[in-house]
């Protein structure tokens, strides 16, 4: 029977810890044949150091006193190679309840231990990377903003103190500097906001109908100016980060208002369907649409499809949307026909 139990080396020892019986798996794990090992003491399986510390004797003693001893540690194969073993030694009793010998089960866990070590290392690396990212956010917020602010301040001084000396050309240069610093300030802010999305927030139940109602209030002037019609009803209550979800809805709405077809009042329809444990949201508009080749690119940070002169912007909104949806375990994508409209689809876990 002993021969067919895989992965476990099973051996029987006499009272003194000498090997009496040896199975095939033991031969595989320890490297000795039965002929070679029977009659030898188990201390041959232990390293010099373990032997000095009397580990084999201590384990046998523990098994004798308590009936069982377990230990995980390095053992030595024939030829000196080390392996990581999980060992159970149990006492075998005679008719008079006296200990007559021991059974010893040994499992080679070297591979498992290595895997655990790899996982540990991976987790540690991840932790370091996260720290670096946090550090990066700090650098962006402080070290990059500071020189930028200096440029901005001195441009202001120039404009105040030298306004009579400057000709049109000089004023044009200042305008370039001004616009560039303002743009950079906003890009850095977008980067920072992105890094902070969802951090230090608690998930709550968010009623998307109420969310849309209040957004319509906030965006009242731009909705009216664009003569936009927005429809939605029976939106679900979802469990998530309220501020982030609000931003998601607001970014999508603002985009539809911004990228409207010239001369055509925007029509924005929001609908939801539930299946496979997800709410499937659709934000559909009749705007200028997106060329199919840019379907992925629009969600990448700082990627824009239009020149600043045509549409103001920083290429931040949809990258934020993507991160927010992913924070909620969902996915976002866009379907669009150029000059007919876009339909942004995203999922949120039910």
């Amino acid at each position: 029977m002993l021969e067919v139990i895989d992965d476990y080396a099973i051996l029987f020892l006499d009272r003194h810890g000498n090997v009496e019986n040896w199975n095939k798996e033991a031969e595989k794990i320890k490297g000795y044949t039965a002929e070679e090992i029977i009659g030898h003491n188990i201390n041959v399986f232990y390293s010099e150091e373990s032997r000095r510390n009397k580990l084999p004797e201590l384990l046998i003693e523990e098994a004798r006193l308590r009936g069982r001893a377990q230990h995980e540690g390095w053992r030595v194969r024939k030829g000196g190679e080390l392996f990581w073993a999980f060992v159970t030694i149990s006492a075998i009793y005679g008719d008079q309840r006296e200990v007559v010998g021991y059974s010893k089960f040994i499992r080679d866990l070297t591979a498992k231990r290595q895997m655990e070590k790899t996982t540990e290392e991976y987790a540690r690396e991840l932790e370091i990377k996260n720290k670096e990212l946090e550090q990066f956010v700090y650098i962006a917020s402080h070290d990059l903003q500071e020189p930028l602010l200096t440029v901005k301040n001195f441009v202001e001084l120039f404009k105040d103190e030298y306004k009579d000396v400057f000709d049109d050309n000089a004023r044009l240069y200042l305008q370039f500097i001004d616009r560039s610093t303002e743009r950079m300030r906003n890009l850095i802010k977008g980067l920072l906001d992105y890094a902070r999305l969802g951090g230090h927030q608690v998930k709550t139940l968010v009623d998307c109908n109420l969310l849309m109602d209040s957004l319509q209030n906030d965006l009242f002037s731009s909705i009216t100016a664009a003569e936009a019609t927005i429809t939605y009803k029976d939106l679900p209550i979802v469990y998530g980060f309220e501020t982030a979800l609000r931003q998601l809805f607001q970014n999508l709405l603002s985009n539809s208002l911004k990228f409207k077809m010239p001369g055509v009042p925007p029509q924005i329809d929001i609908s939801v369907a539930a299946h496979d444990n997800f709410w499937h949201f659709e934000f559909k508009d009749n705007g200028i649409g997106i060329e199919p080749c840019y379907k992925e690119k629009v969600f990448v940070m700082f990627q824009r499809l239009h020149n600043v002169a045509d549409y103001e912007g920083y290429g931040i909104g949809l990258s934020h949307c993507k991160k927010i949806v992913e924070l909620h375990g969902g996915k976002i994508s866009v379907e669009s026909v150029l000059n007919e409209g876009s339909s942004f689809n995203f999922t949120l876990r039910v």
Binding site: E291, Y294, L305, N307, V308
Partner: protein, 146 residues
Amino acid sequence: MKRYKDLDCVLLVDDDISTNFIHRRIVENTKINVDVKEISSAKEALDYLTYSGKYENMEHAPKAGIIFLDINMPGMNGWDFIAEYKKLDQKHKARIVVVMLTTSLNPDDEQHAANVEEIATYLHKPLNMEAFAQIADKYFEVIDEE
């Protein structure tokens, strides 16, 4: 002013108008007699080369000799432009030298540029007068030294 054969016009293709402004100054300050055309998108640059869109019937406009091309542009970027440029009829791109001009610090971009036959060289912004004069000397024949 120096003149070069077939170098009538330099095309500056960049979505950032302040960059185009600076580059125009640099080209103009070099003592080379050449027109400068600022273009703010890759799509418009293709239109310029093929006399289409807003450049329809503009065959008389100076023919581009050098294109300074930005990589990072909204919509069609520099790489997308190159892909379209490759497909152009030979008559539209004859004797044109394309120079990739970028703020990218990504070594992959430089490597990529080196592997594209259409890209003569790859420079970091801003363009400077010496680099421009060198490119003119390397790829064009001087016809007037005055």
